[in-house]
């Protein structure tokens, strides 16, 4: 009993050592990286594949990357896009997602990009929960 309690305490101490926000930040910057840092390779790979595919498909559909904050809808779109972390900044630097939306599928592309950012934030928070021991 005492040994079990001691083992749990040691495990909790090991889990809480170091910078606990690293998986959160890494997961935000690079999809799946947060899970890789906590040793969840399979989950990280699936999350990375899903989020990267969604972002790439959004751009392939000529989706728009939000860049300005002229009105509330653009601000919300920008907040969603920023969830993609480095992907967003790389795409902006490469001049992608800047064209005018003229076809329906491009509007879908814009939603794909925003939602991939929001899903990436959920994944990064999940990695943080794994790191802190809140989730197994």
């Amino acid at each position: 009993m005492a040994a079990g309690t001691n083992s749990t305490a040691t495990k909790a101490k090991t889990t809480n050592q170091g910078f606990v926000y690293l998986p959160l930040i890494a997961g935000w910057l690079i999809p799946g990286a947060g899970h890789f840092l906590v040793g969840k390779w399979g989950r990280g790979a699936l999350l990375a594949a899903s989020i990267l595919s969604m972002f790439a498909l959004g751009l392939a559909m000529q989706g728009h990357l939000y860049a300005s904050t002229h009105d509330i809808l653009e601000m919300l779109g920008l907040a969603g896009d920023l969830g993609n972390g480095l992907l967003y900044f790389m795409a902006r630097a490469m001049g992608l997602g800047t064209g005018q939306i003229t076809v329906t599928v491009a509007d879908y592309g814009t939603r794909f990009i925003v939602v991939s950012g929001l899903l990436n934030v959920i994944a990064a928070v999940d990695a943080h929960n794994l790191r802190t021991g809140r989730k197994a």
């Binding site: 392939a60 000529q62 959920i122 999940d126």
Partner: protein, 59 residues
Amino acid sequence: MYSPSHFTALSLFALFASVVFGITQRETPKRMLKYGIYCFALFELSAVVLSWAMYLIAK
């Protein structure tokens, strides 16, 4: 330019969102898979139901 049909776009969206929901909202692999399939089915089913509703309203 990639130009999928509306249903293909919806299915791709449902697939990727369901994978993330499944992994992040459940703890064990079996429950993750079940929840992912459940979310995917709900996405698809609600799209079909809403499509028919809009078709009948517009008729």
